[in-house]
């Protein structure tokens, strides 16, 4: 009888109930909220569902030493997590992004690249604020990249600069990317006049196939020579785009933008979610990171819109740019471009800004990868 009781007692110590803390339940609740938002609201479901479920997995209370936790060497989760820790997943996602991105809008109006550059100030604004809040420069750099509104870039950089903060940074970046319509719209409305919102831009010109093929090669050479530390992201982004545009590697492009990116997105979301174990995630630093992440999105959107307004002072006639595409420099592709389209059509249902906004939007992807390379070069 005693043996049975002793075994039952031992079994009890192995259960999640015996090892649970309130922090575990708090994180599981956050995971459930993520999944609910993704399903009910449809906000970034491809990311929030895996991250939310990953949070639940990572916060199941467990007896240490069973070799099943994400931070226990050799466990299944730990093995999958290596793609995040060593930075393999983000470049693979960039390969898929490159293979699915049409740079035509940007090639037809290369001047829109500057909006993408202006919006990167969100990264450095958050960097300055993070330093002011007492973070070390490497941590501040990793936090600042949230303003790039690019999940893979945020994971890549934080895995190199501040691995301890990666969970909070990744969750913050993806959360605010999901909230782009909520964050950006009021800022865009506050900073523009009705006249500016009604501004129409001429249709972009037709882009030849030759230009589309040259773009990834020249774009890669130029950006990689300036910022070699951004090589993994920039190389994969432009390589993926070359696969798409070359016209002779259709199968590879289809795989990169289809099954490959789906698999990697699933794994990155799940493992990043699982890495947010309560004891590592529920800290004061995480709260600060969430605040700074929000501010970085606000700064990026504000500067993007104001930059276009300032630029318009020097432009004439139909060269003027609708400031509603300024927000799209934040590289959350294609959400921020879609916000430009939706807000533009609120005031003029015939004013389609989507294709114009896609220019700064994809420029933002390049810009944030370049910014990540610079931060890595200086702080890595």
């Amino acid at each position: 009888m005693n043996t049975i009781v002793e075994n039952l007692r031992q079994f009890w110590f192995f259960t999640g109930f015996a090892n649970a803390t309130w922090q575990n339940f708090a994180m599981i609740l956050i995971g459930v909220v993520f999944i609910t938002i993704a399903i009910k609201k449809g906000w970034e479901p491809l990311l929030l569902v895996p991250i939310g479920f990953g949070m639940i997995i990572g916060n199941i209370p467990m007896f240490p030493g069973l070799n099943i936790g994400v931070y226990e060497d050799g466990s299944v989760l730990n093995t999958l997590y290596q793609g995040v820790k060593q930075g393999w997943y983000p470049p693979l996602i960039f390969l898929g992004i490159g293979a699915m991105t049409d740079f035509s809008a940007l090639i037809s109006q290369p001047r829109l690249l500057l909006i993408g550059a202006a919006a990167q100030t969100g990264i450095f604004g958050a960097y300055l604020l993070a330093l002011a809040l007492g973070f070390d420069p490497n941590q501040a750099g990793a936090i600042g990249i949230i303003g790039g509104a690019d999940g893979p870039t945020a994971i890549f950089l934080s895995s190199k600069l501040a691995p301890d903060l990666m969970g909070a940074i990744a969750v913050s970046a993806y959360s605010y990317m999901a909230l782009v319509p909520v964050i950006q719209r009021p800022i865009m409305l506050a900073l523009t006049t009705k006249k500016e919102r009604l501004m129409r831009m001429p249709a972009p010109r037709v882009v030849s196939q030759r230009e589309k093929i040259v773009f990834p090669i020249v774009g890669f050479l130029l950006t990689a020579f300036i910022v070699p530390s951004g090589l993994p992201l920039l190389g994969m982004l432009f390589f993926g785009n070359l696969l798409k545009e070359s016209g002779v590697t259709r199968r590879l492009a289809e795989t990169a933008r289809g099954p490959l990116i789906d698999v990697v997105t699933t794994l990155i979301g799940l493992t990043v979610g699982a890495s947010t174990q309560a004891d590592k995630f529920l800290t004061g630093a995480s709260l600060k990171i969430f605040l700074l992440g929000l501010l970085s999105f606000v700064i990026a959107t504000t500067v993007g819109v104001l930059f276009v307004k300032f630029w318009n002072l020097f432009l004439k006639g139909d060269r003027k740019i609708n400031p509603l595409i300024g927000n799209a420099g934040v590289s959350a592709v294609p959400d921020s471009a879609r916000v430009s389209e939706v807000v533009g059509r609120e005031f003029d249902p015939g004013n389609h800004l989507l294709m114009h906004a896609m220019g700064p939007n994809v420029a933002g992807v390049i810009g944030s990868a370049v910014a990540a390379g610079i931060l890595l070069g200086f702080l890595g």
């Binding site: 690249l113 950006t223 933008r257 389609h352 610079i374 200086f378």
Partner: protein, 312 residues
Amino acid sequence: MRRIRIIIAAVVSLLCGASLGAQNLTDLKIGEVLVDNTEGVTDDYGQRNGWIELFNTSSGTVKFGGCYLSDDLSDLKKYHIPTSDLSTKIGPRQSVVFYTSGKSFQGTYHTNFQLRRGTTVYLVSNDGRTVIDRIDIPADLPADHSVVRVPQGVKGMDFETRVSAKPTPGTYNGDVDAKSKSEVMGEKDPHGFVLTLIAVSVVFTALIILAIIFGWIGKMSRRLQSPSPKEARPRKVKGSRKAGEMTPEIAAAISMALSRESGGEVQAAIALALHDYLGGGIHDLESLVITIVPSAGGGWADKTQTFRQSPR
């Protein structure tokens, strides 16, 4: 056939280049040597011997099995590092220590000669002839002092040779108190303004250059494509309207009609496709984007409309 030969040759030379790069013995350096060890590190047998430290200057692992160590130019093959020992490799920017005990039977990392002052230590390639690196030992080198090569410069690839009273066998020869880049930035730029200024400038510069280049490429491309007068004439659409004229209105009207039937995503995608089609089109055929293509056939009853797509 000729093309295949060229491709094979290119692949072979690439592979050869890669293997040379991965196994580049020239990345090895003699990092530090100590002759008279009275108070320093002991070997596996508890003995104090002189030692030679090899350092891998590269960012890849280098296998050094098969190389030689010597203190005699006329006998460069004095001590042969066994190839059979799997531990004979050095990780990136790491080092290994050979004890110059004169007792090679004690293991791979014990040489068959003892170091003497006033001699030169040679690291020789596995061909037994090529000297990879050498280091001179001063005749007046004090006991427990080492001759050390300290990495210098931003890349740490230049080395300064000096005598040190604090030997560091098996560890990095640079300043052990060296600060990380982040710490240096924290001291030099505590508020982050300098880094911000530099980074924003670089991002803008990179994208401005890209914009200029692509503005120029676009102009060249349009010049190359300069259409014949017939092609240059705008495509007519129904109602004899010119291409591009009123297209946003048409697209918006259709999309508004569609919005009652379906969600905003579908509406946006169809409106975009219509906009592109009516305006002359900037899309080629691709997945994830709706692209409207003018029919190549003669009419609705044309047989080509019912053909299967040709395999690609």
